[in-house]
């Protein structure tokens, strides 16, 4: 429970600091949060995580978070399509509404669930 709350708080703080841009960062395997730069040319509507950080944390990466400031906290249909590497978990949200999402190849769509304790196992 502590780790879940810690991560949600980190996401919230980072999202507020980068507002109105989308923020993004890496969740490590020991459930710490590494703030990364959003290098997207349109950072209000999209994110591209700084690849240098990705390389630096490649072996420690558990998941990737990005924020949806002032918007629906659920993933966008583009978010699902952008998941190229299935080695990581993907998280999205705003304030306390954080979701884990993944692309389902057989259904050809993006599924999501509330980010809760079960996601950290």
């Amino acid at each position: 429970m502590e780790k879940l709350q810690f991560l949600v708080n980190e996401f919230k703080k980072h999202a507020k600091d980068e507002y109105p841009n989308e923020c993004c960062g890496i969740v490590t395997k020991d459930f710490n949060y590494i703030r990364c730069s959003n290098i997207s040319p349109d950072p209000i509507n999209s994110f591209i995580l700084d690849p240098e950080k990705m390389i630096e944390y490649e072996d420690e990466c558990w998941g990737i978070f990005h924020s949806h400031p002032d918007d629906e906290p659920t993933p966008s249909s583009l978010d699902g399509k952008k998941i190229a590497c299935e080695d990581f978990k993907y998280l999205v949200g705003w304030e306390d509404d954080i979701y884990l999402y993944w692309y389902d190849n057989s259904l050809n769509c993006t599924l999501f669930k509330t980010f809760d304790e079960s996601c950290l196992k």
Binding site: D71, E72, T74, G80, N108, C109, L111, F112
Partner: protein, 144 residues
């Protein structure tokens, strides 16, 4: 029609959306009108029922939306006939046979709805929509 209805017309459609200006989907629209006009909180939003992001989610799943409506602990009562204002009409529209749409009954044979490629609008609840109705539900605190 009540005067307040104009606040809920011409809103863009957005699957999973819950914003009366930027975009809203069919269930979140029903819940927002009920909340704003009666103070009753249905406690759910579309993302609690539907875990697929894409607008054509109903072609990708056999899971019916609104499963909670048939859970007696939730608070929706199934009505046999004669809808009243603020009743929610569930429908199965299009080629799928799952319940994939809902509208808010307004009285006088009219309902408020929104769907893909539309903005929210008022339409008669007539023969066409009745044919696709899978259930009419009333929130527990609306005891007329």
């Amino acid at each position: 029609m009540p005067n307040w209805i104009t606040n809920y017309l011409d809103i863009p459609y957005r699957h999973l959306g819950n914003n009366l200006e930027k975009g809203i989907d069919c269930f979140n629209l029903c819940a927002a009108v009920i909340k704003n006009q009666t103070g009753e909180d249905l406690q759910y939003k579309t993302s609690d029922f539907c875990n697929i992001v894409e607008e054509d989610w109903y072609t990708k799943t056999h899971d019916p939306l609104f499963k909670a409506f048939d859970n007696p602990n939730y608070g929706m009562l199934k009505i046999e006939d004669n809808p009243q204002p603020f009743d929610i009409i569930l429908m199965s529209i299009g080629s799928t046979n799952i319940t994939n749409h809902c509208a808010l009954f307004l009285g006088n044979g009219k309902m408020l709805q929104t769907m893909i490629d539309h903005v929210s609008w008022i339409t008669p609840y007539g023969r066409w929509y009745k044919r696709y109705t899978t259930g009419i539900y009333r929130w527990k605190n609306f005891n007329f």
